[in-house]
Amino acid sequence: MFTPAPLLALSSSTIGVSISLGLVGLGMVWMLIRSLRARDVDRRIVFLFIFISVSAPILFPITFSETPTPVVKKLFDKVESLPADSKVLISFDFDPAMAPEVQPMADAFTRHCMAKNHKVIFMSLWATGQSLLNQTMRAVLVTEFPEKRDGIDYVELGYKAGNEGVLNVIVSNFRKMFPTDVNSIPLDSIEIFDKIKSCRDLDLIISIGGGKPGIKEWVLFVGDPTKTPIGAGVAAVVAPQLYPYYPKQLLGLLGGVKGAAEYESELVRHYPQFEEVDKPGLRMMGPQTFAHVVILAFIVLGNISFFVSRRRASR
């Protein structure tokens, strides 16, 4: 299934990372000695280790190349295989709390669609999604694709209250729910919407978020009735609940920072011009990887302490 990629693409911050790793390693040795003496470690020490293991890769960036899992690759391949001028809708259904995990996905999808010259429709079912949508537009569209034109290459419909009620309407008629875009331009005057009447006329829908309303509502109210392909980008804690929908109802699924990192990695592989662009997903995999390894080490040390104390008690 996978083709393993080279593991490490070390940056010039190796020294900083090495020192941090050394500190953590020494600390682990100390913890091991304590564990062998059947003594548990104060939680504040645990917090300190997590702090070091998360902050070191942030201060001294280290990135790992990622190999996309099939569930991510399918979504990437779909966006890649759609011909130019395909109509893609991206819905920002999340709040600032979820943004660190899912905004990188939103940026990556936008970047990919613009690179493929798809026509992108931006909208949001969450009130807080509107400002996050604007952040992506500023960070990606305006900065990296200044030649793209509002109304011709992309359009922002903005936020609409009503949760699944919005979906119930746009599944048959966009204009009934969004008579104008966010700049009050009638949809009938927008070139992208010349051939779009409802969600049935879209080539792909991507919902980013994980709360309610979110992916489940998009699948239930739009994907199932219209058979329009739907992809999702969600926070890691929500992803397991959505696996049942894959692959029949969900084309692909990005789960958490790892999913974002895999997508960014695949994007760079296909479009080397994005090598220098900020990739927060890949950037956050450094701290996530180190934190996970440290947590694994804690689990091992905790069990050592447990077994040693149990053996002593049985004597």
Partner: protein
Amino acid sequence: MKRQVALLITLFIGTLLVVSVFIPPMESLKETFTLFFDIIAVFAFFLGGGNLLRVHLTKLSKRKQDWVYSIVTLVGFTVVLVIGLFKLGNPGGIAASPTAEGSLFQTLFDNVLVPLSSTMYALLAFFVASASYRAFRAKNREATILLIAAFIILLGRTPFGMMLTSWVPNSLSILQIPNLAIWIMNSANLAGQRAIMIGIGLGVVSMSIRIILGIERTYLGEEK
């Protein structure tokens, strides 16, 4: 008498809403009652907000322990309420949306509330570590299985997971750690979640029948 009226209302509305699922002309009742609830909840906010003010003003006036923090609460509450209500610092004036681009309300939201919420959310990273250190111990068979599954999932979410099992041939690719992690989430974990959800669904039905029929009345307060 008060309880009897409440129980009758519960019986009537509860039965009506269950029946409305099967009667098409009554399908919109659910949305209507949801709207009623939202309106009542909005009015109830005055109670909550008023209570908040009362508690902290009392604390402040009587100089109870940690009264200084009550000042922070009261100032924050009042400032945001006034700015939002009267659209202070809003480029569109009093008729504009409180969250209009460039408004003081939105600035406070973006620069105070969002970082604070993110900070609290970030605490999870530390707590996951301390909970894992304490909880994932092989005390018995089930705990050992949990421990192994946690190991695989944690490793599978890092590049090391692939590195450790890249030598596994493709015919046995399910044994590669990332694939194993996905299988655990897709199959084992999902089966457990679905079983719990079936139980929850039945529990909700049972509880709802008890409430609708008035057998369960504790939420109204105990009978004297």
